[in-house]
């Protein structure tokens, strides 16, 4: 909408676009080279960039970033406050895990079996999201939030219940490597998994970009601002919303599938509503409504979480009196508090902070507010 209108204005718009593409390409190239370099940032990474520990952490951050991007489609673009998005990530991780265990036909080579399994998983994510979305989107605003939460909770219950021994219950599910290409297996191949995660992030980014620029993307962004205006021109918002919801679900499933490979397994934690709350925290932390805000938020959150957890276990903390030790030894307490502070005092998130220098008005808060308007008219 206006975003694109503004960007397209004048010559400088064109030039800025080229600069953006070049910068993006350079960043991806740099990230791709990282495993070959020896860069140490003490306090941020656990070791030099070529070590499996650091690569694992970075790959994890990139997959969370991909997931956050898919969530951005819902919340940032379409203004749908879903509390059930983790369901589709879990569907991707568990889905691939289960398909790899149960689907191993003789007439397919292991490599082909693996690819087919991934495709099945992503399609599964799409279909599941379409089913959940078709019901939840019957309501809007706050009810929608609650209903998606309920579905996520149901998913979480199913996973823990371990139906037919499919999900492994509380133990979780480990990766069956029979049909997984060997270059994706084992700690020694973390580097390949890192590249896989980077690939997934780039793919998800491009799909999100494409959706945002598509007609459906424009319509759904318009429904966020003003439902009525879209109805007036003869489009039922339900359909486009459902489409975007399903695409976001498929992307989340893709990230989940890569997550299974990276962690060589999956635990029921990723199916909990709490995990979706984490996603929400990430997107808001980064800056609602901005693609790279979601990415930034995911990276900052993951690194912070990791560092704070390390801090919690340190001797420094153990020596403190209770009033300080207890809160400081709970990473989620600190992250939750940080989140509250961001919402209260930094409505545009981290990206908004960066934008503040550029423009007068950060876009984040206004967006969030117009979303809210939907639920309040009485």
């Amino acid at each position: 909408m206006t975003e694109h209108g503004m960007r397209g204005q004048g010559l400088s718009g064109q030039r800025r676009l080229i600069i953006k593409i070049a910068a993006g390409g350079a960043l991806v190239a740099l990230l791709a080279l990282l495993p070959l370099l020896n860069i140490s940032i003490p306090g941020v990474f656990p070791g030099p960039t070529y070590t499996p520990g650091t690569l694992q952490l970075l790959a994890y951050a990139m997959l969370i970033a991909a997931l956050a991007l898919s969530y951005h489609l819902l919340f940032g673009l379409a203004g749908m406050l879903s509390f059930g998005h983790a369901l589709f990530f879990a569907a991707g991780a568990y889905g691939l895990g289960i398909v790899l265990r149960r689907f191993s036909p003789d007439w397919l080579s292991p490599g082909a079996t693996f690819l087919v399994a991934v495709v099945i998983t992503v399609v599964l994510g799409f279909v599941l999201a379409a089913v959940v979305g078709s019901l939840s989107l019957r309501v809007t605003g706050i009810s929608f939030a609650m209903v998606t939460l309920a579905f996520a909770q149901a998913g979480s219950v199913v996973v823990r219940r371990n139906p037919e021994g499919l999900t492994g219950g509380e133990e979780g599910l480990s990766l069956d490597v029979t049909n997984v290409p060997s270059f994706f297996v084992g700690v020694l191949n973390t580097r390949n998994l890192y590249w896989l995660a980077l690939g997934v992030l780039v793919v998800v980014y491009l799909v999100v970009l494409w959706v945002e620029r598509s007609r459906a993307g424009h319509v759904v962004a318009a429904t966020r601002e003003n439902d009525l205006r879209v109805r007036v021109i003869g489009i039922r918002p339900y359909g486009v919303r459902l489409l975007v919801f399903s695409i976001a679900g498929a992307l989340a499933a893709l990230a989940g599938a890569a997550f299974l490979l990276l962690q060589s397994g999956v635990s029921p934690r990723v199916a909990t509503p709490d995990f979706t709350l984490t996603l929400l925290v990430i997107v808001v932390l980064g800056g609602v409504g901005l693609r790279w805000g979601a990415v930034l938020g995911a990276v900052v959150y993951t690194l912070l979480d990791q560092r704070l957890t390390a801090l919690a276990g340190s001797d420094l903390i153990a020596g403190l009196p209770d009033v300080l030790r207890i809160p400081l030894s709970q990473p989620l307490f600190l992250l939750g508090t940080l989140f509250i502070l961001v919402v209260l005092f930094l409505p545009g998130g981290l990206a908004g902070l960066a934008k503040l220098g550029e423009h007068r008005t950060p876009r984040g808060p206004r967006r969030a507010r117009t979303i809210a308007a939907e639920g309040t008219t009485r």
């Binding site: 939030a145 919402v343 409505p347």
Partner: protein, 294 residues
């Protein structure tokens, strides 16, 4: 027959818990449009502190239980009022941000509870009578169910009475309908917000003490797990409707008990299916106002 009675009464007891959480959620949503994710934390903190006090007084006596319930309700009310005053109010009319703040608060407080009281459940001791059973129509029913049901009814009656017969009640009822017009009559509706949060917090805090009798323990997650069902209850009952919340609490809990018993422990799923069914047939919930599907 006896199984049926047992399931029914147990369902009513669980429904009482749901109602204690859902009543506050529904009132808060109805008046302010805020979906309060921190409501479970009011419940948990009420339960923890209530039992801390009770344990220091005496273990397992009736008056220690009464003290626990009073303290629980008070702590819940204070926590809720403080939340409204320091966090929600700053984001007046920005509903999404208000939800986000309560999400942050829920995450932070649950972590804090884990830090203070540990991740393992803390078992509670209540009067011996509550652990015994009474026979009704051949069913041996745990006595604590009766306490739960009686207190939930008491809370319902108190809230209804408050809404009906006090000036604040009048303001709240009017505000649920048309908040703008209430301010246009010269009334500072924000004070009613604090009151509503406090009432909801008190019910939740009391619910926390009762939930720990029902389950036999307190844990940092007791509130958040009940909260999800309370959300479902408020949607099924109709957002903002106290009566709807009461009816839906009982329906959901009884359904859950029956499905758990007769359909191989599928109670949680049955509840979500019921939610889906209600959404398909009647998106605004059982007693929801017309047009309030948002």
């Amino acid at each position: 027959m006896s199984t049926l009675v047992l399931l029914l009464v147990t369902g009513l007891g669980l429904g009482a818990l749901y109602f204690l959480v859902a009543s506050g959620l529904s009132l808060i949503y109805g008046l302010m449009g805020v979906l309060n994710f921190a409501h479970g934390s009011f419940l948990t903190v009420g339960a923890f502190i209530g039992w801390e006090v009770s344990r220091r007084l005496s273990d397992g006596s009736w008056w220690a239980l009464v003290a626990a319930m009073l303290v629980g309700a008070l702590v819940g009310a204070l926590a809720a009022a403080a939340t409204e005053f320091f966090l929600i109010r700053r984001l007046y009319n920005r509903h999404i941000e208000q939800v986000l703040v309560t999400v942050g608060l829920a995450l932070a407080t649950v972590a804090l509870f884990e830090g203070i009281w540990g991740t393992d459940p803390t078992y509670v001791t209540s009067p011996a009578w509550l652990a015994q059973t009474t026979e009704i129509l051949g069913a041996r029913i745990p006595n604590n169910r009766f306490l739960l049901i009686a207190l939930a009814v008491l809370v319902l009656v108190t809230i209804v009475g408050f809404l009906r017969f006090t000036r604040y009640g009048l303001i709240i009822r009017a505000g649920v309908e048309n908040r703008t017009m209430v301010t246009a009559l010269g009334i500072d509706v924000r004070r009613a917000f604090t009151v509503v949060f406090a009432i909801g917090g008190a019910a939740a805090g009391l619910g926390g003490v009762l939930a720990s009798i029902y389950y036999g323990y307190v844990s940092a997650h007791i509130g958040s797990s009940l909260l999800i069902f309370a959300f479902i209850v408020t949607v099924i009952g109709g957002l903002g409707s106290l009566g709807g919340a009461a009816i839906a609490s009982v329906l959901v809990a009884v359904l859950q008990q029956f499905a758990n018993f007769y359909l191989g422990g599928t109670g949680d799923l049955a509840v979500v299916l019921a939610l889906a069914a209600v959404l398909l047939v009647r998106p605004r919930g059982l007693l929801g106002a017309k047009g309030s599907t948002a």
